[in-house]
């Protein structure tokens, strides 16, 4: 089954008698009025959807438990990182709290040979790609600018400049098409990024070259303190139509729907039908980063309303309703969560500072006379302190550490 049209993709069809969900919500700006694909209601009831049910027909109770485990462990990791920032172990943290379903659902839709271009908040997608979560913390601790080899997991480094990576994804996808490969590329970005020129240019290039790229926008309602009405006047997913490819809005707190819709979009890309925009309508429950104070710009009631749609509670309700998971499963997972938290905590504290001369490493692939000169001067300067017994570099961390297998 493929996505036949924008219109078809954005109109969830439900069988009669099923509880209609996801329409009546907290008042939102008109541009963000939800009209979204949903397979699980906030109460954890399965909703039929003719367009997308086929994409999750293979989901077994075991897979569902796996998705639940992914979300719980990602949230636990995220909470640990937030705590570590509060304890002064990290300089900054960008929490994904509330966006677990969007990230795990889309991340688990990917094949190994698909390639991911994340922002700086895709901790759940990184988990799905097998990047060890401790490797995500190096840049936030300040020991590197990205602690993993992108080619190992087909997961590019986090990109800080908003929207830049959507062009990298498009170019990479153009290369995939040139190579005749049948893999796809996925670019993550946020609602704020949709205002950036680079995102518009990425849409243009991907459409013109029919590049196999899925644009996965997590509309978490806030770009730091700016609400979506400061970014757009029409629903975000509709923007794709003007560029000549389909867009669909999915309930971003529904892991099953995110999985189904992303699978559809990836399948479309792999089969040569070009790009697609997926808008995962979700909510950032925490701050933009730990430097931010959301109490200054948004109401408590808003967060409370979204907490009722929590992606983890929703899947748990479904698992319990269907008797898919028992108490032993939840207890074991709780234990696994705590172990992960402990491992992350210890790994961060043990993370060495890089050697001082690392400043000069990898500035150029082929070397540069000025860098060589400055390295030599700085090394001599440092050595003058070593003679006085003050030492030089304190660590030997390469920045690429830890197992790549952990998240699998």
């Amino acid at each position: 089954m493929t996505v036949e049209s924008t219109a078809a993709a954005r109109k969830p069809r439900r069988s009669s008698g099923t509880k209609r969900a996801g329409v009546k919500r907290t008042p939102q700006p008109k541009a963000t009025e939800p009209q979204l694909v949903q397979l699980l209601t906030p109460e954890g009831e399965r909703v039929q959807n003719d367009e997308y049910d086929g994409y999750v027909a293979d989901i077994t109770p075991e897979t569902l438990r796996g998705l639940y485990r992914d979300m719980v462990l990602t949230r636990r990791f995220d909470a640990e990182a937030t705590s570590l920032q509060r304890q002064g172990e990290l300089g900054l943290w960008a929490s994904l709290l509330g966006q677990e379903a969007a990230q795990i659902g889309s991340g688990r839709a990917l094949n190994d040979d698909d390639y991911v271009f994340p922002t700086y908040r895709e901790h759940g997608v990184a988990w799905c790609r097998g990047v060890d979560p401790t490797n995500l913390l190096g840049m936030f601790r300040g020991v590197n600018h990205g602690g993993w080899d992108p080619k190992t997991n087909n997961f590019h480094l986090y990109t800080i400049v908003i929207g830049s990576q959507t062009l990298h994804a498009t170019g990479y996808a153009m290369g995939v098409a040139k190579d005749g490969a049948d893999s796809a590329v996925i670019a993550y970005f946020g609602d704020g990024a949709s205002s950036q020129g680079d995102v518009a240019e990425a849409f243009t290039f991907s459409a013109v070259y029919n590049a196999p790229v899925v644009f996965f926008c997590q509309n978490n309602q806030w770009a730091i303190s700016e609400p979506t009405e400061k970014q757009m006047r029409v629903p975000l997913y509709q923007r794709a139509q003007g560029f000549g490819f389909p867009g669909v809005r999915v309930d971003g707190n529904d892991v099953l729907a995110c999985l189904a819709v992303t699978r559809a979009a990836l399948e479309r890309a792999r089969s040569g039908e070009g790009p697609m925009l997926v808008e995962a309508f979700t909510y950032r429950m925490g701050a933009h980063t730990t430097s931010d104070d959301p109490t200054k710009y948004r109401a408590d009631e808003e967060r409370a309303a979204w907490e009722a749609k929590d992606p983890i509670l929703r899947l748990r309700a479904y698992l319990e309703r269907e008797s898919t998971a028992d108490e032993a499963f939840f207890a074991a997972l709780e234990e696994e969560s705590e172990a992960l938290g402990k491992r992350v905590r210890e790994a961060v504290r043990a993370m060495p500072d890089p050697d001082h001369l690392a400043i000069f490493e990898h500035v150029y692939a082929d070397g540069h006379a000025l860098v060589d000169e400055e390295r030599a001067q700085f090394a001599a300067y440092q050595a003058s302190f070593a003679d006085a017994g003050m030492g030089t570099g304190t660590g030997s961390g390469t920045g690429f550490e830890g197992s790549a297998e952990e998240g699998k």
């Binding site: 590197n144 600018h145 990205g146 080899d149 992108p150 080619k151 590019h156 480094l157 990109t159 400049v161 830049s164 959507t166 062009l167 990298h168 994804a169 498009t170 170019g171 990479y172 996808a173 153009m174 290369g175 995939v176 040139k178 190579d179 020129g197 680079d198 240019e201 990425a202 243009t204 290039f205 013109v208 490493e361 990898h362 500035v363 150029y364 692939a365 082929d366 540069h368 006379a369 000025l370 860098v371 390469t398 920045g399 690429f400």
Partner: protein, 326 residues
Amino acid sequence: MAVTKLPLAKAINESLRVALDTDPKVLIMGEDVGKLGGVFRVTDGLQKDFGEDRVIDTPLAESGIVGTAIGLALRGYRPVVEIQFDGFVFPAYDQIVTQLAKMHARALGKIKMPVVVRIPYGGGIGAVEHHSESPEALFAHVAGLKIVSPSTSADAYWMMQQAIQSDDPVIFFEPKRRYWDKSEVDTEAIPGPLHKARVTRTGTDLTLAAYGPMVKVCLEAADAAAEEGKSVEVLDLRSVSPIDFDTIQTSVEKTRRLVVVHEAPVFFGSGAEIAARITERSFYHLEAPVLRVGGFHAPYPPARLEEEYLPGLDRVLDAVDRSLAY
């Protein structure tokens, strides 16, 4: 016949042809580079011979051109992108500075960025606004980029191939007002290192250092000075990042005087960097402060005024006289 006389633009064209022919991963990208062959015809005929998949006409979006080139490089391609004119590079400046320049370092060396950004630059062709600028210092200030500018057809031919083979991003500034100047190219020569300066004319009284479009002006100035009995050495720097300070130092310690000439504004320009470093290296050899000749701290003027703005023979000779007067 390995030696032919070619206009500089045609030498680049031939060089791109060789690169496309030699390495299937090389791609040409830009606005109008295909059927039209570029607004200066530098890519003329390449799409016809290598196809639309190798010589890619792009949407009119500079950030998109560089940003997608980055993605293609990540996939293993070696894109050579054309920015149509100097003043149009700024929409792509973000991608060049925040992404292209830093990708290798961010990945601790695990990924390479073999992207060449071709920019026809400089004035003297009577163009409208944004078509005559020399922004090389803005790029030289950014670690992770390499910046070169040829002044002869032979250099254009060989430096382009070396830039494409480099695993680092190279900003390739093409002196557009020299595009039609013909000089000899030996396509079987063994080229020197990409970032080494060349002594173009030897002399004993003063060193003129320039690159790209200003090398010709400096050679003319040296000829004129010779008629007055002054022996002027001319250096073609060829590379703005890195700069071959060793060659400049050797020359200055012989002549004891240095004048740096470029079209870009003098303020915070490459001449300032050269003056500072040469003063550090050769302070006791200098008989005069290092002088600079270049553009003013003003927007590039309308074409009817560009001859006043651009360093010409007289302004260079005036600086030579001022230096010798110390």
